[in-house]
Amino acid sequence: MTSRSNGDPLVRLSGVNKWFGELHVLQDIDLSIDRGEVVVVIGPSGSGKSTLCRAINRLEAIEQGEITIDGQRLPEEGKELARLRSDVGMVFQSFNLFAHKTILENVTLGPIKVRRQSKADAEKRARELLERVGVAAQADKYPAQLSGGQQQRVAIARALAMDPKVMLFDEPTSALDPEMINEVLDVMTSLARDGMTMVVVTHEMGFARRAANRVVFMDGGRIVESADPETFFTTPQSARAKDFLSKILEH
């Protein structure tokens, strides 16, 4: 375990349970994420890792248990929930950039509408962020005019524009062509280095080794194993994790 903690964990899930109908997708999940910690969640498809990620900002409601962010319990609905979500950045597998808005407008929408920043301030910051993720030249284009890798980097800039306390990445490279994966992972790695608290659901084991403080392995809706990357990849404890790693690491 890393000991970067300064006080309470930033994100805490305790006794979380969720069902999709009969399917028990999250089972007794306990997970604490410290400030500045990068947690990579891996596991086979259907293991509940995306649902876990989406539960943290309540895009998926949970049936049992408690989730707190920065000591505050996730509100049920309404303005309180919106306010809390504004502190939690989210990057989706399918980018989800606003199709009818330019790249710049995508990045300024949240700061203007939620943070009540002036248009000029929001645009200045947005251009800095677009510069940082390497797509400043595309600011006036529409999302469909960009490659997948560029769109995903814009999505990261859009999330960063809210100055989030924590960033959630839900399989951010799974919809990308192979040659575009690294440009996105590079941005994420630099974020991790800068001390951003991150929860990353991914199949990119190289990223997990390089950037994670902790790897959480899920299977069948449960957290089966949780360890630092070195320990997890070299000496996995559970049979399930050994089996999973043997399947993905042999090619």
């Binding site: 895009l59 919106a82 809390l84 979500r85 606003f98």
Partner: protein, 215 residues
């Protein structure tokens, strides 16, 4: 030609009445219909129920009955409304149900990830609807919305039966006075409607092309 010259004032007034009914009724229908569509997708159950009840009531009632209810029914509960405002109200309330369904189909066509991304940024339900979902929904529903509005323009003819001197009301009136000019009267009335519908259809087509978005 002399016939049209002699009756120009009548045609003009009737045309302007039909145009006013269409514009005011259309405005009411668009505003109310969009609001109803927002209600129908809202997380608040009573709002959803209310909007569904509204849509099913007005969509399944003949427009003539709606007119009758507003112009003769409402005075029974001491709400007296003039013929023209009553006609605007009837047309707007009735058409709003169809506008709602067209807009709702557009909302459903917007990828769910768009609303999720908006919510994840911290936008409230209303903000994400206004800023992200509805602007995209309207773009996809221009053609069906156009159908609804063109049908509404023609539906304004029902007002003829409720003492509003719009285009269709000229038919019995002018034919009675000029029995030999039936065809000219018909042509005049049809041209009056087409002066509204043809440019509208053309404008809608322009709008559709201009707001089309890349996906």
């Amino acid at each position: 030609m002399q016939f049209y010259v002699d009756n120009f004032g009548l045609f003009r007034d009737a045309f302007l009445t039909t145009l006013s009914l269409s514009l005011l009724g259309g405005l009411l229908a668009l505003v109310l219909g969009t609001l109803l569509a927002a209600f129908r997708v809202s997380p608040i159950t009573p709002l959803r129920g209310l909007a569904t009840f509204y849509v099913e009531t007005f969509r399944n009632t003949p427009l003539t009955v709606v007119f009758f209810f507003i112009i003769f029914g409402l005075p029974q509960i001491d709400f007296v409304i003039g013929f023209f405002p009553g006609a605007v109200l009837a047309i707007g309330l009735y058409t709003a149900a169809f506008v709602c369904e067209a807009v709702r189909s557009g909302i459903n066509a917007v990828a769910s990830g768009q609303a999720e991304a908006a919510r994840a940024l911290g936008l409230t339900f209303g903000q994400s609807l206004r800023e992200v979902v509805l602007p995209q929904a309207f773009r996809t529903v221009v053609p069906p919305l156009g159908n609804v509005l063109l049908a509404m323009v023609k539906n304004t003819s029902i007002a003829a039966g409720f003492a509003v001197s719009e285009l269709s009301s000229l038919l019995p009136r002018l034919v009675n006075a000029n029995a030999g000019e039936l065809v000219l009267v018909l042509i005049g009335v049809v041209v009056g409607y087409m002066l509204i519908t043809v440019p509208s259809a053309f404008a809608l087509h322009r709008v559709e092309r201009r707001v089309a978005i890349l996906r």
